[in-house]
């Protein structure tokens, strides 16, 4: 049964905090409370302790979105991590000194890791807010000298260059099974001047003090577009949002914090290239053409590392699925993958630190900022060439969105319908690319669509994409295994048992892709069926309206 903490903020002038010079940890800090509580409880004061409080979450705030907080408290030889939920349940475990960021798998085995690991998934746990705290605890005892309630005064301060004191807080922590006593304490304290119920957690307060808010990063293209917005400005707004996402992930890729930084960056570059291809004509002049080549370079820069990440992420499962070979036979392959990946990552980092990348993002931001809504230069497009004044950039975005979504849907259905049982793998790859184009357009213009219809259309498309992804990933990975085998043989890094195991792995990948290919016809027929066609028609009609 969750024990709800009750938290108060203490006014600086209150008798509860005592003299400010003692940072609230002196005897006077307790006088106000102690006088009120002594009539009902025996009191026992524990010594004060200074701790470091670090709140952790993944870069994309997975714990926050699941309604959880994760706090690492260390000090005086103690290291503990507590997972808290909005429902009040808490799981605490002692941990070795943590080196942050870390993967959830490095937490000690037990309930805490069992709870955190599924939430964090592939993402690392990062420090999102840090405070130094001097805490002093007062225990309230019953007639058996048993602790029934704990009161903690926390004098927190931010660390680092922005060091500043946080408002002192009083936390009433009920001991399980003694809620009535905690209720009583809460009622007594409520009568005390200088105490007000806290309207946010210590975490929220600390986060706000460093100018952040929970959930402040997402890889979603959530741009507020309106139907009548000029298409050029709207497309620029979408591209600016994509640039924000790219830049937000660069540091994580360089520091190699987890694989999903690169995944998000790569997907966002792909989205950017799709936007330039499918709606770049709404931008003035030859802007889209000028930058398309640079984003192609950036996309290619990420390919090798991401491909190797995919191999490594699926390695354990693939090894466990071997039938004739033993998982241990693949150990040399794993070693080679790790080595190749390290080398490719170094190459990627050089690219992301290059002047070419810096100039690309700098110039791209300047160019987009001049077009995006709200920019002082937004009107310059209308004063540009005849194409700029009368072209697609000046049309309402709803018209452009409807036309481009319809076209992408037509291209997808046409390309897919041409696929037969004997079609080469490249044809299915083309269908997948057309599907991605439609998916990205739907994401870019989501704000213009009826939300339930949009969700249904995306869901249908996603099912088709999953099938196509399975086919292509199987083929690509099978070919990659062949290439790796040749490379390892050349390096004399592949014993016979490893090559045999890799052969089995390639065969399994091929079998999975073939199975998915058999399913393609059914999936495609469903996607192009009447219901989905109506969904797309409805979306483009709503957009046009």
């Amino acid at each position: 049964m969750p024990q709800q903490l009750r938290e108060f903020v203490i006014e600086e002038t209150s008798t509860v905090t005592g003299p400010a010079t003692a940072a609230g940890t002196g005897t006077a800090a307790w006088n106000g409370m102690a006088d009120v509580l002594r009539s009902t409880f025996q009191l026992a004061a524990d010594g004060s302790r200074t701790v470091r409080r670090v709140w952790l979450d993944t870069f994309d705030w997975r714990l926050h979105h699941a309604g959880c907080t994760l706090e690492y408290v260390s000090g005086g030889g103690m290291h503990e991590v507590t997972l808290g939920t909005h429902g009040g349940a808490r799981v605490t475990a002692a941990v070795p000194r943590m080196s942050l960021p870390c993967m959830s798998g490095t937490l000690p085995a037990g309930l805490l890791r069992e709870r955190v690991a599924p939430l964090a998934g592939l993402r690392a746990l990062l420090p999102v807010a840090t405070a130094a705290s001097t805490q002093r605890t007062l225990r309230l005892l019953d007639g058996e000298d048993k602790t029934v309630v704990r009161l903690t005064i926390d004098h927190g301060s931010l660390r680092g260059p922005a060091a500043t004191a946080l408002p002192p807080r009083l936390t009433v922590t009920p001991v399980r099974g003694y809620d009535a006593q905690a209720d009583r304490v809460e009622r007594l304290l409520a009568e005390l001047p200088g105490l007000t119920a806290a309207d946010g957690s210590a975490f929220a307060l600390t986060l706000a003090a460093v100018g952040r808010r929970a959930g402040d990063y997402s890889s979603a293209v959530d741009v507020a577009l309106t139907s009548s917005m000029p298409a050029g400005a709207a497309v620029a707004a979408v591209l600016l949002r994509l640039l924000d996402i790219v830049e937000a992930n660069v540091d994580g890729v360089i520091r190699d914090i987890d694989t999903e930084f690169l995944h998000d960056l790569r997907v966002t570059v792909r989205r950017t290239r799709a936007a330039l291809k499918l709606a770049g004509d709404a931008l003035p002049g030859d802007l889209a053409a000028r930058f398309a080549a640079e984003f192609k370079w950036l996309g290619q820069l990420t390919t090798s590392t991401r491909d190797l990440d995919v191999h490594l992420l699926g390695f354990a499962e693939a090894a466990a699925g071997l039938v004739t070979a033993a998982p241990a036979d693949l150990a040399p392959l794993h070693g080679s993958l790790v080595r190749y990946r390290a080398a490719e990552h170094r190459r990627l980092v050089r690219g992301l630190r290059s002047a070419r990348f810096t100039e690309l993002t700098r110039q791209w931001r300047i160019a987009l900022a001049n077009i995006a809504p709200g920019s002082t230069a937004a009107g310059t497009q209308a004063r540009g060439s005849a194409r700029d004044r009368e072209g697609p950039g000046q049309a309402p975005i709803a018209d452009l969105a409807a036309a481009r979504v319809q076209r992408a849907y037509r291209r997808l259905t046409r390309t897919g319908a041409a696929v037969t049982a004997s079609s080469p793998e490249e044809d299915l790859h083309t269908v997948r690319k057309r599907g991605k184009e439609l998916r990205y357009l739907l994401e870019f213009f989501a704000a213009l669509h009826d939300p339930p219809t949009h969700r249904s259309a995306v869901r249908e498309l996603k099912q088709l994409q999953d099938c196509l992804g399975e086919i292509q990933d199987g083929h690509v990975q099978r070919e990659a295994i062949r290439t790796l085998a040749a490379r390892m043989v050349a390096e004399r890094a592949a014993p016979a048992a490893t090559l045999l195991a890799m052969g089995e792995l390639a065969a399994q990948l091929d079998a999975a892709a073939t199975g998915a290919r058999d399913d393609f016809g059914r999936r495609f027929a469903r996607f192009t069926g009447g219901r989905n066609a109506r969904l797309i028609a409805s979306l483009t009609k709503v957009a046009a309206a």
């Binding site: 024990q3 349940a89 605490t92 037990g110 309930l111 225990r139 000298d145 048993k146 099974g177």
Partner: protein, 250 residues
């Protein structure tokens, strides 16, 4: 969630001291629950908690009172207690009236896996339906033995009982308790038996007045005398037991 039960058919061998001290040490690592199944309520007393469960064993077993509603927090972080109740002396009657009478405690503990890393069951000294429930619920039986000539026989009897048990069989880890180093017999047995038997821990707990003071201090020994030899003995024992992961010790 791992479930440990301190068990011996004999009384006064250090079951409760072991349960309280080992549960305290387990709670330093992760969330821990100690269920005092002994109606004498010694563990409950040591944690200064009232030995009462509303509705008694009948309410718990029949589900009228959820187990988690009866749990009390101790004075120590991450360590909770399910108190003893005087009605536990008739627990066999309540268990016998239930469906699957030997699996009731295991059933009651199942939902607690969401909350606790470790559960300790402090069992009364008997061979009863409640004992069979404990065998079904526990991953490891922790058996305190006083190093006397008959202690091997006691352990063999218990091993036989568990071996003949028609159900899930917990691992058995015995350890020497109340060891008096002044007695040659104690010294000989403590030295040789762990070498001969894989189910006997190397770590042993001496007979010390500091341990007896638990009843006066009403707290786990590692909490009030963390640097004492006795606390170190319990730490060694816990290290050995927790590292075994329910398998034979050696």
């Amino acid at each position: 969630m791992r479930v440990y039960a301190t068990y011996n058919v004999k009384g006064g061998v250090g079951k409760t001291s072991a349960a309280v001290n080992l549960a305290y040490l387990a709670s330093r690592e992760g969330s821990t629950l100690l269920w005092d199944l002994d109606p004498q309520a010694a563990a409950t007393f040591l944690f200064r908690i009232r030995p009462r469960v509303k509705g008694g064993s009948k309410a718990l077993v029949r589900g009228a009172r959820p187990l988690d509603a009866a749990i009390k927090g101790t004075d120590f972080d991450k360590l909770d207690l399910l108190p003893a109740d005087f009605t536990y002396r008739r627990m066999d009657l309540v268990l016998d009236a239930a469906k699957k009478p030997t699996r009731q405690i295991a059933r009651l503990l199942t939902p607690l896996a969401r909350e606790y890393d470790t559960v300790f069951l402090d069992c009364p000294p008997s061979m009863s339906l409640a004992s069979e429930n404990v065998l079904n619920a526990a991953d490891t039986l922790i058996v305190p033995l006083i190093p006397t000539t008959l202690c091997t026989r006691t352990l063999d009897q218990l091993t036989g009982f568990v071996g003949a048990f028609d159900g899930r069989r917990p691992a058995i880890v015995a350890f020497f308790s109340m060891v008096d180093r002044r007695k040659r017999l104690h010294r000989d047995i403590v030295e040789h038996l762990p070498e001969e038997r894989s189910d006997v821990a190397t770590a042993a707990v001496p007979a010390l007045s500091l341990i007896e003071q638990m009843a006066v201090r009403r707290a786990p020994l590692p909490a009030y005398a963390p640097r004492s030899t006795a606390a170190q003995c319990y730490r060694d024992l816990w290290k050995e037991i927790s590292a075994s992961g329910g398998e034979a010790l050696k």
